[in-house]
């Protein structure tokens, strides 16, 4: 199958760069797959798992950011990106628990909204990991 160039970057580093056949990206309007010669597209991401399909399949957790498809390939800019293997699942569960308490205790206001959004995102990541 034809391959195209794919880059996954977070503000701190380049997480992945290489030739791939098929990438499934969690877009804010739904997941979409990218193959070679995809039409140019800019899409926002929702927190979830980005999958690179092919011989060496890879899965990454991404949170916030956007994906850009241009004739040269696909670039995903995420606020946070890490390989699924590197995610500390227990740590994640702990964070969710803490946030749940925060949301329950917090006064109404922007702080509570922020915590609730973060909680939703983390839960989305957790469910995407299959827990």
């Amino acid at each position: 199958m034809a391959t195209f160039h794919f880059e996954l970057t977070s503000p701190e580093k380049l997480v992945f760069s290489g030739e791939v056949e098929h990438v499934v990206v969690p877009g804010s309007e739904g997941e979409f797959g990218v193959l070679k010669d995809h039409a140019p597209l800019v899409a926002l991401l929702r927190p979830g798992v980005l999958t690179v399909l092919g011989q060496n399949e890879k899965r990454f957790v991404v949170r916030g950011g956007f994906a850009e498809v241009n004739p040269k390939g696909l670039t995903v800019l995420a606020d946070f990106a890490a390989a699924v293997e590197d995610i500390d699942r227990e740590g994640l569960a702990g964070q969710i628990k803490n946030l749940e308490e925060d949301v329950a205790d917090a006064q109404d206001g922007p702080a509570k909204d922020q915590a609730a959004t973060r909680l939703e995102q983390l839960k989305a990541v957790q469910s995407a990991l299959g827990h």
Binding site: E7, T9, S10, P11, E12, K13, L14, G27, S28, E29, A39, P40, L41, V42, A43, L44, G64, G65, F66, E68, N70, P71, T75, L77, D79
Partner: protein
């Protein structure tokens, strides 16, 4: 004239100082390597971000409907200067050059009758600006951290956005030091809000993207993030520049200390020799008198 003992103590003190500056230089060298790597790792993200923003901004047909972060407030009366400096001194003229650039800008703006507000990132800049512009400083953010992460930049970014939302300023400029090499750091002023977007150009100018959701939603999402990204970049450049500046400053200090030790040792030996000669003359003339 100082006694021999005093001079010995002085030489020992200079040697101790030299050891410290030497150690600081080596620490700075290793930190510099890490800071440089971090700055390079962040480059692809910032570059892609800029490219996409430029594309989208060019495709927004009606500037009136664009978010205020892109178009500005339509006025340039109140300026916010974000001055990024280090948390520590002993790094040559690093902090002073950034502050000097900011100060020139402030004076120019005040001369034009504009209002100036200052947001200090880093304690050293605050210390220097406080003397003359204490009433202009809105807030100081200290970054006493071991490793600079994106979340720190996000904190600064959030602060800037909060002020902008409240209509506290019209134009924001970021001051930091761009890292050229170990010996060259260029103090730089970068206008963040409204962003200076170079017109079209490049190969990317002709691509017609599909947007999901539509352009304005994406812009509304990207522009605030872009602020944090720019701040993050500035902070990383600053970190590398600071270590570079400290390294060359400490290298100079070590060399100067070596020079001082050499001179002091010569004076010490001369004095010692003179005293021996004097004592010999005394003994000889005493023996002759008998």
């Amino acid at each position: 004239m100082a006694s021999l003992k005093d001079m010995r103590v002085r030489i020992a003190a200079t040697k101790a100082t030299q050891k410290i500056t030497k150690a600081m230089q080596m620490v700075a060298a290793s930190k510099l390597r890490r800071a440089q790597a971090a700055a390079e790792a962040a480059r692809p993200y910032a570059e892609s971000m800029e490219k996409v923003l430029r594309n989208i901004a060019a495709s927004v047909s009606d500037p009136g409907s664009a978010p205020r972060l892109l178009g500005g407030t339509g006025s340039d009366q109140v300026h916010l200067l974000v001055v990024c400096t280090a948390e520590r001194g002993l790094c040559g003229a690093f902090n002073s050059t950034i502050v000097r650039l900011a100060r020139e800008k402030i004076n120019a703006l005040v001369g034009q009758g504009k209002t100036v507000k200052i947001l200090c990132v880093g304690r050293k800049g605050y210390d220097q600006l406080r003397r003359n512009y204490a009433q202009n400083i809105v807030e100081t953010i200290e970054l006493r951290v071991k490793a600079l992460g994106f979340e720190h930049a996000e904190r600064v970014g959030a602060k800037i956005l909060e002020l902008y939302e409240k209509g506290e300023f019209d134009v924001a400029t970021l001051f930091f030091s761009r890292f050229r090499s170990v010996v060259v750091q260029v103090p730089t002023a970068l206008q963040m809000i409204p962003p200076v977007i170079e017109a079209g150009g490049g190969e990317g100018g002709t691509i017609n993207y599909e947007y999901e959701p539509d352009e304005l939603d994406i812009l509304a999402e990207l522009l605030p993030r872009n602020i944090s990204v720019q701040v993050f970049r500035a902070l990383l450049e600053n970190a590398a520049s600071e270590q570079g500046a400290r390294m060359s400053a400490m290298d100079n200090a070590t060399r100067n200390a070596g020079e001082m030790i050499r001179k002091q040792t010569i004076t010490y030996n001369r004095t010692r020799q003179a005293m021996i000669t004097k004592e010999l003359i005394e003994i000889i003339s005493g023996a002759e008198a008998l």
